[in-house]
Symmetry: C2
Subunit: 136 residues, 2 copies
DNA sequence: AAGATGAGTGGTAATTATTACTGATACACT
DNA sequence: AGTGTATCAGTAATAATTACCACTCATCTT
């Protein structure tokens, strides 16, 4: 979004960015759409997708390709890891120190040009755990 | 597939399993379908999906929820990490020692019941790198 | 200020991956 | 052989995402 000077900071982009910045929940495109629609009721879902994609390409937000069926987006771009609830699907940050060195390790043993890595933990979040208890 | 005794080892399941075992390429459901179809031309895509899902639930194969748009499947079930080519999308194993201990670390600092983790490296595979060179 | 240019938008259609449904098979057990 | 049920092939339906297109609106040019 800052890469090409022709790229405009439209109202839609500004609000998408603001709303994404308000939450720490790694919303899906549809969830961002719902959030943004409260302020811009006529915005199109395609606009949200297009701009989330664009912003992630230019690096001002993060696109999370975690498990589950939907992509998720994150306004926090400094490297960090995630944990996903296998029951409800939500994704939280997890404060494990980032291992910068394993990229080099990976580069040494593979034929790939290694560009990055991501760790995704999986488990059951406390809410889902509580719900499961309640049923028993 | 060995969990419930009612579950039959049909020809379809046997061949899906055999074909998946032959490759190390983490094929998508569609790729498995193509492989299997050479031996069982009349098999349905739904059957492939159904059985891959089933086998991953019972733990005899692994379902990889890596980046990209498709799920991938792996006959190697012992824990290991993966690297994905950002250019062509293929997924390879990467021989980095599995860190059993970080699950505990994660459990300590999060409210989740941590069940596992997966590391996905991303980069450019040697083939794509070569192709890029050729263009320049 | 008016017109041209082109990025961006909203609405909708199309695509892709996956799942669900359905009637037909085929095995297992009597 | 007859019945019950798992599984199948084929197809329809769903979900997420992307593509398309006519129109809007900044920005630039005269």
């Amino acid at each position: 979004m800052q890469l090409t000077p022709e790229m405009r900071l439209t109202t839609q982009r500004q609000i998408i960015l603001e709303e994404l910045g308000k939450v720490t929940s790694h919303p899906t495109a549809n969830e961002v759409y719902d959030m943004v629609r409260k302020r811009l009721p006529r915005i199109g879902l395609g606009t949200v997708y297009r701009n989330l994609e664009l912003m992630s390409e230019t690096g001002i937000i993060l696109k999370l390709e975690v498990g589950g069926t939907q992509k998720r987006f994150d306004a926090t771009i400094d490297p960090h890891y995630h944990i996903r609830c296998l029951s409800c699907g939500k994704v939280d940050d997890i404060e494990i120190p980032v291992m910068e060195d394993i990229n080099k390790t990976a580069a040494d043993i593979s034929k790939y040009q290694v560009l990055g890595h991501h760790i995704e933990f999986s488990g059951i979040c406390s809410e889902c755990n509580d719900n499961a208890q309640a049923v028993n």
